[in-house]
Amino acid sequence: MTENELQRRMFMKRMGAAAGLAAGTAALGTFFHNRNLVPSGEVAKAVRSYAVPGTESMLAVAEGSDPALAVRAALQELGGIERFVKAGDRVLIKPNCAFDRPAHFGATSSPAVTGEVVRQCVAAGAQVRVIDNPINNPEGCFVKSGLMDAVGSAGGEVWLPSASLFGQVKVGTLRIPEWEALYRPLDWADKLIGIPTVKSHNLCGVSLTMKNWYGLLGGPRNRLHQAIHEVITDLAQFIRPTLVVLDGSRLLVDNGPTGGSPSDVRPGDVVAIGTDQVALDSFGARLLDYAPEDIAYLGMAAKLGLGTMDEAKLRLFKKVRAVS
């Protein structure tokens, strides 16, 4: 054996060992990465559809300065809450409670609208729980937004998020095939109702129905902002709700999603309730002076067949004035 052969053999041996070590550390990294909420290896579960058959492609808009009255008027146009919620149902409600801001700043769903939706479901004989995984401290968000009191006084219960409620779920087809989400509450529920507020958003233009499902996710959500339009479209695939109550009682027209000044907010005096998320978000975008076609995620969702931007193509579209 020559000296050269010896060096080559030694070189190959060391390179092999180095490659093995690199692969080992990569495997270790993958194993430990993001283990903050969900144990590694958990199989992603599919979340069921909460839609009631025969209620697809519907949207009812009620205008009026009394939000509770507007909720009732819009529901009436859709056939009443009983068409969607039955006695004994377990109803999970997802408002936008992302920030510890008082309600009049428009960053969170209004207590009047949320309370009325809870009241309607309770009156229909359902058990109601309200949940969100906020950006700020959850309890602080529910208290300061006024939702804690509104939900409690309407006969519902606020379900504060905790690590044990999360599980890996299947989400969408574009950017996040699976993610950590509030799986146990979703699994508990027979029906799911979203109550987004109408607000501007510094990254995606508008934050409405589909974006509201963000609050069902856990984990490092800040990463999702890097491809926000695709992620929001994934969320529209992820959640097929029973109903969405778009709270336009006041509009956060500037500096969303948080805002911070009463001058960022203007009265909206409208509530839209429906089952087509694309139609609802298109309606909300127009309230904020956006053309739906200019919101990238709406185009993506429509292309995937998740709904329509054109109200004329809805199976049912009604507009009423909510007066007592």
């Binding site: 060992a17 920030f99 300061k144 805002g259 009463p262 001058s263």
Partner: protein, 308 residues
Amino acid sequence: MPRRFLLSAGWLFPIVLALSFVVKGRYYDPAFFTPPASLIAALPVPSAVAGWVLEGGVSLPADRMFEKINGKADYYLQYGAVELCSGEWVANGQRRDMYLYRFKEVQGARGAYGGERPSDGKAIEGIEGYTVPGQAAIAAGSFYLQLNAQTAAADTGPAVELALALAPGLGGSSPASADDAAVDLSVLAGDAMVPDSEGFLPESAFGFSVFNNVQTVRVGLDGTEAVWFTAPGDAAAVSAYADELAMYGGEELFNQDGASGGSMYGSWGMAGILNGAMWGVQNAPAREALLQHWNSLQAGLKTLSERP
């Protein structure tokens, strides 16, 4: 043997490095969510004042403001905000959320405050501040303070009392009177001011690097609008402005009574030293309109300076 040992240590290095990333990456940085005690201790307000007690007070530097005001941080940053202090003031069952912004310059605080002040804001007597349903706000020194109630229907009285108690500690109340009147553009413009048109440009205003920390107001005279402005600067700054104007293709340049001006891209502007400060007019549609605004500005300053 030493050579073999060194080689072994070399193998260990990537493992240690990788493990450090793995261990570090497993945990959130608690400091990201809970600011360190040093930030809490550094608040520019006392922990108790006039019967109010501050709970949960924290301070966020400019690059972390988005944690509290996602979507709104850019608004304050453009005025030169360097810190956001937040917390909750509590007294006798009353609670008010505090959002206290500190700016590099007094003008920055005034600019951010002026930009948010709604036209229907009710002035707070004796201080530069206003109330609207659910909020009281003041500009004091280099601070802009907002006190938010839990509901829009809440009495604004307690928030005003708290704001008045906090103002002296924030570098004065900056009332819109006395010394300040001489540089208050809204007072200077008077009835000719376009409503809600006060502004602040922290740097390179109107495209000139020499105009920084500029206060502006839009003024309408005989159907022509222009922007009146004032900025820190002396005769050398005015000269630098004239140089930039010439360098960037300014036309019909002129000097008049120590001021310099000209037109660029069809818009006329000029700047000069008046009463020891730099003043100017920009965005006038024609030379005649520019000079009309300049003369009006000069006359306004003279009137203000002659007030007892």
